[in-house]
């Protein structure tokens, strides 16, 4: 098995699953019925994408299933970005988290879509359509909240500020990322400036200020997570841990 490629696919799957999990926590609690439905839709997309990546990973590792990756790994084995495990807090934080990630996610998928790995490019092509919508949703809300009321402006600015340090991890390559850059041209260093331009433009249009920080938060890709992931997994894995080896 190609360990780097496998790790990379798991990284993608974990990002999708953990963000999908967080967004799914909104289900039934959204600020308006229409947004409740939209958030659930987005959560569904993410979990659906996680399944495609895990299924692909499972083809490389005989005897594994998609559920083994989701339900039977520990915190330190998960490789998702730290940003994505951060709590929903309020609608503003939820939007800020998605906004930063969606724009990055779209850039990655654009490269993967036409990369030389056929399996990955097929998944990326489908995910690309979904994530284009995610980008529209989150950036529209950044604008609405930024240029809405004084309160919403303050709240979304605070959320953008607080989550910004986690965005450095997008572009800090893991071993798997380096492998993908060398083999398939998925070069994170090239995406960094593109991401900054896109994000800054939207932030400015939303009458907000682009945060800066000299103190990045890193480690998710290497399994060094925040305390929050353990609680996510406790909930996510409850059934499989309590009733091992059962069919559901």
């Amino acid at each position: 098995m190609n360990k780097d490629l496998h790790n990379y696919i798991i990284q993608l799957g974990d990002n999708s699953l953990i963000l999908g999990h967080r967004i799914s926590e909104w289900c039934g609690h959204g600020p308006v019925l229409e947004q409740d439905i939209a958030l659930t839709n987005i959560a569904l997309d993410h979990v659906g994408q996680a399944r495609m990546y895990y299924q692909l990973a499972a083809t490389m590792e005989p005897g594994k299933t998609e559920d083994d990756y989701a339900y039977l790994r520990t915190v330190t084995e998960y490789k998702n970005l730290l940003l994505l495990e951060q709590e929903n807090k309020d609608f503003g934080y939820t939007i800020a988290r998605s906004f930063y990630y969606d724009q990055f996610h779209l850039l990655i998928l654009r490269v993967l879509k036409s990369c030389g790995n056929k399996d990955l490019s097929e998944i990326a092509a489908q995910a690309y359509k979904e994530v284009s919508y995610h980008c529209r949703f989150s950036s529209d809300w950044v604008k609405r909240l930024g240029d809405g009321t004084e309160e919403s402006h303050r709240r979304i600015q605070r959320a953008l500020d607080e989550f910004f340090p986690y965005t450095a991890e997008f572009f800090a390559p893991s071993e798997a990322d380096n492998y993908m850059a060398g083999k398939y041209g998925v070069d994170l260093s090239k995406l960094s400036s593109q991401w900054s331009v896109i994000v800054e433009n939207i932030v400015r249009e939303a009458t907000l200020t682009m945060p800066t920080t000299p103190y990045p938060q890193l480690g998710g890709k290497q399994g060094r997570h925040s305390e929050k992931l353990g609680f996510i997994l406790t909930e996510l894995q409850y059934m499989q841990r309590t009733y091992p080896n059962s069919t559901w």
């Binding site: 439905i37 979990v47 309160e151 059934m239 559901w248």
Partner: protein, 313 residues
């Protein structure tokens, strides 16, 4: 004058002509519909909570996706139904306010807790199943927008029911612990599901008028009987016992006889004192209040955008 209008209205109903929003209708018909449709909409929305509860804990990814999609369908049902109610001249905000202040009711079934994964199956099988029994006749309801909303809703509800039953089938073929989980869940949900059809015909205050207006087509007891008849075989296939010692086939009637519902429990929950009434409303109110700043922002932004357009034009 109104008598003439009223007669023309009843003639239409008797000829099965649909009543549409712009048509004249008696005030009480309008009120009865608003009450029923809004209750129905609220039930969809509150009904998202007991199942939404298990989204983060679903036992595998396939089930997680299916459950999320189901709860999302229920939100969609709420949306169509609020829209149908709005055609009668009430606003969604007012209706939601009635829910939050306890003036409006929703289906009591959602005041019971979901404490095991099996409950996701049982709710699909019994609760969506009972909802289908109640709602299929509503597809022919005299009020057009409600009838049309119900056609869409019923299609999805039968999908939910099959999905729920399939969850239970899987449990029935599983380990001892899974079988126990299944039986326990059916024990808890059977009677509350029978209560979903409402009070006995003799105690149902709105029924006679609703039948004359063809808002309702069958009585509570008729629908309940159909439901019981349908469930017995399905329970047998699952290998579960329905928790009613009086349940047995009555050759003469051609139906199953069943025991008496605990009406004290029924009224207790209806009046707001079931296991989860307070939690459910508190959760809805909290979501609404927490979302106030978001709704305000969206309104303010839309107004600014409209003004900017004006300036450009």
């Amino acid at each position: 004058m109104d008598n003439l209008k009223e007669k023309a209205f009843q003639d239409k109903i008797d000829q099965d002509t649909r009543i549409e929003p712009k048509d004249w209708m008696p005030e009480n018909y309008r009120k009865a519909l608003i009450r029923q449709i809004s209750q129905h909409a609220h039930s969809e929305i509150v009904g998202m909570l007991p199942e939404g509860n298990w989204v983060t804990r679903a036992p595998n990814l396939r089930r997680k996706v299916a459950l999320l999609a189901k709860v999302q369908d229920e939100a969609g049902h709420g949306l169509y139904l609020y829209a149908a109610a709005e055609t009668l001249g009430v606003s969604r905000d007012d209706l939601i306010d009635q829910l939050h202040t306890g003036k409006a009711k929703y289906s009591s079934i959602f005041n019971y807790p979901t404490i095991s994964w099996a409950d996701m199956g049982t709710i699909g099988w019994l609760v969506d199943g009972a909802a289908i029994m109640n709602q299929v006749p509503l597809c022919r309801c005299s009020y057009g927008p409600y009838a049309r909303a119900m056609v869409r809703v019923c299609k999805e509800e039968s999908f939910h029911q099959r999905q729920g039953y399939e969850i239970l089938l899987t449990l029935s073929r599983g380990t001892e612990a899974q079988k126990q989980m299944l039986q326990d869940s059916v024990n808890r949900w059977w009677w509350p599901s029978l209560m979903m059809f409402g009070p006995s015909d003799s105690d149902s205050p709105h029924s006679a008028q609703s039948m004359a207006w063809k808002i309702k087509r069958f009585s509570n007891d008729e629908l309940r009987q159909r439901f019981v008849d349908a469930c017995v075989d399905q329970a047998r296939i699952l290998g579960v016992t329905l928790p009613d010692p009086d349940l047995k086939w009555n050759e003469e009637r051609g139906h199953y006889d069943f025991g008496e519902i605990d009406w004290d429990e029924f009224w207790q929950v209806v009046k707001g004192h079931g296991p989860c009434n307070k939690d459910r409303i508190e959760t809805r109110v909290k979501a609404y209040e927490d979302g106030a700043w978001v709704r305000e922002a969206a309104t303010a932004y839309a107004e600014k955008q409209a003004k900017r357009k004006e300036k450009v034009a």
